[in-house]
């Protein structure tokens, strides 16, 4: 499973790097214009690190991703995604992921981001993508959906959450300085979170 996880992380890195310009454009509208640059800097380094070594476990692999992002990203997304991945590294299993483990992974990511950023849903941040995605997985579990259906729904809810940030006024992060002027733009953090979730889902099934 660790080989598969490595593949997934590499794919996530490629997608973030491909979207460097797009993420930076979104961030230029309402922030400091470095989200794409910072994220692709971090994920380029992640690719280098993964290339250089074989990992024994998913825990070790994800911890490396976390520490690399923390050390190289430079912007707020470093501590935010870094702490999310660090939390995930503590609980991620090595076996194939079932719905329970995916929910646990999602919840630990949310807990990590909230610990660092102290944000709630509705503040125009990455959480507006991730929380609906995790809630969707929980609903699927309650409804008894199979994992394929659950992941499909999860991706759709993540996309919906990302798009919902367009109409929100930012109350956290650099965009909050703009007040009402932040309305009408999609949040770059919510967008990178969607790209990550989408890629993981597409790679899993």
């Amino acid at each position: 499973m660790t080989e598969k996880s490595k593949e997934i992380i590499n794919k996530v890195a490629d997608v973030i790097i491909e979207n460097k310009k797009y993420l930076t454009e979104l961030d230029s509208a309402i922030g400091d214009g470095d989200h794409g640059i910072n994220m692709s800097k971090g994920f380029n380094k992640v690719k280098e690190k993964l290339e250089a070594k074989d990992y024994e476990s998913n825990k070790e692999l994800i911890k490396t991703v976390a520490m690399t992002l923390i050390s190289t990203v430079g912007g707020a997304s470093g501590p935010l995604y870094g702490t999310a991945f660090l939390n995930i590294s503590k609980i991620i299993p090595d076996a194939d992921f079932d719905l329970d483990s995916l929910i646990e992974i999602g919840e630990s990511a949310v807990a990590g981001i909230q610990k660092r950023g102290k944000a709630e849903q509705g503040e125009k941040t990455m959480l507006d993508t991730i929380i609906p995605a995790v809630n969707s997985l929980k609903e699927s579990k309650e409804n008894g959906d199979n994992i394929e259906e659950a992941l499909k729904q999860c991706k759709a809810k993540a996309e919906e959450g990302m798009k919902a940030t367009i109409d929100m006024q930012a109350t956290k992060g650099r965009a909050s300085y703009l007040g009402k002027r932040s309305i009408g733009h999609q949040d770059p953090g919510a967008t990178s979170s969607y790209l990550i979730i989408k890629t993981v889902v597409d790679e899993l099934y």
Partner: protein
């Protein structure tokens, strides 16, 4: 004597605040300026913050001043990594960056305790301009 760490997104801001604070300081107060990313861009470098804490830590305590978003988050993250004993004596001040740096340097130089310095720099008077 309390030591001070100044964390800014921009190297020159951190170094400039240090320069201004050092103009006023007495005694052996140590001030470390941490600014920018390792490759010289605007941003924060958690590893440099951690190195600064390890370098400057004393039992009297360390006050950290940070400017915005990722600087604050990075400091909080590094504080979480510290051992309990050290963690208790390293404080991210809820204070304005430049004013906080200058007053913290002055009071630390006078031998004030960390709690006294924090009380001064975290007071609302610090941001009054009129």
């Amino acid at each position: 004597m309390v030591n001070i760490i100044l964390v800014s997104h921009v190297k020159e801001i951190a170094e400039g605040a240090k320069k201004l604070a050092e103009q006023m300081k007495q005694g052996d107060v140590e001030i470390i300026a941490v600014g920018g990313t390792p490759d010289g861009d605007i941003g924060t470098d958690p590893d440099a913050i951690e190195t600064a804490v390890n370098e400057i830590y004393k039992e009297d305590g360390v006050i950290i001043l940070a400017d915005l978003g990722s600087a604050i988050m990075s400091v909080n993250m590094v504080l979480d990594w510290l051992e309990e004993e050290v963690r208790e004596k390293v404080v991210l001040a809820d204070a304005p960056f430049v004013e906080g740096a200058v007053v913290a340097a002055v009071e630390a130089g006078m031998g004030n305790k960390i709690e006294e310095i924090l009380e001064s720099i975290e007071s609302a008077d610090m941001i009054k301009k009129n």
